[in-house]
Symmetry: C2
Subunit: 153 residues, 2 copies
DNA sequence: GCCAAATATGAAAGTGAATTTCATTAACGA
DNA sequence: TCGTTAATGAAATTCACTTTCATATTTGGC
């Protein structure tokens, strides 16, 4: 438990650095809002929509506008610390990107819970399929929709 | 070639029957528009957006409105002869559903081409993953995004 | 620290696709 | 054929972004 916590802190710090470097590199500016939004994002659920984050922020920072949250999340994605995902419910969500890791999702159609998983073998088979069509994979998306363990009870 | 054609005709006929039965069963009505839209859909590309189909229809049937195409495609999905899919480009597409078959997609990010494929082993692995989380799969979505063979040249 | 130039912000307006409304029209079944 | 019920098409509305624009901040150079 303790080690997990320490790793978490280090990961957050690393992401803040990545984002900060990105901002500097692009000639953009560090602002109070971006810092606040980054903190909120890093300490949030792993799959936040713009609306989710905006509402969460509004409690302590009512002056931060929706457009700023929207633009900042885009920047997170551009800098590599976040990724846009869509589960077909009409909302774009942003998930945390862990260095070098790609995971897929189990989405509960009953309660909306999202479980992440990784499977090497599936990834390998995907590459084989792509190869057989002369196709070069850039990204992929694998989602399993259904009923989660909790909702089955 | 000839056999493929015959199968195609039979499949179309079967789907028309499925849709017609669905309509009857629900106490809905058969209309000229629904027939026309169904014909157009069945003889179309496998991945049509509402807009695509609406424009295609407008040539010969300029009186059919966008809303009718929209509503009819929804009915196709409800009846089981079509399925809604989204490739993240902001348009909902409708693809043909073949009895008992589920396929996945290779989506070219360069030219937009969509290639379908099936892979038993991947499906099996998906079930295993779901099982290990006590999750019951209802549907799934697997898309590989990248550059197709044509665009690589 | 102060200034000028460049970027960021928030409120509001604009977009584009999907969805709904409503007056009118067309099917179905007795 | 008639009456009831559903379908249609045009237009309005909704929804989730996305952009605009006037104002405010940040930053690099004195």
């Amino acid at each position: 438990m303790k080690i997990t916590f320490i790793i978490e802190v280090l990961v957050k710090r690393a992401k803040k650095k990545i984002f900060h470097d990105f901002i500097t590199h692009k000639g953009l500016k560090t602002t109070r809002q971006r810092d606040v939004i980054l903190d909120a994002f890093l300490s949030s659920d792993r799959h936040m929509s713009i609306e989710d984050l905006y509402l969460k922020l509004r409690v302590k920072h009512p002056r931060i506008g929706y457009a700023t949250v929207y633009r900042t999340l885009k920047l997170f994605a551009e800098s590599g610390i976040a990724r846009e995902i869509q589960f077909g419910d009409g909302q774009t969500r942003y998930e945390h990107v862990a260095e070098g890791e790609h995971h897929d999702h189990l989405v509960c159609t009953h309660c909306g819970a999202i479980i992440e998983f990784e499977n090497e073998t599936i990834e390998k088979l995907q590459s084989e399929v792509a190869d057989s069509y002369g196709f070069i994979i850039e990204t992929h998306k694998l989602e399993l929709y259904g009923i989660c363990a909790k909702c089955r009870k």
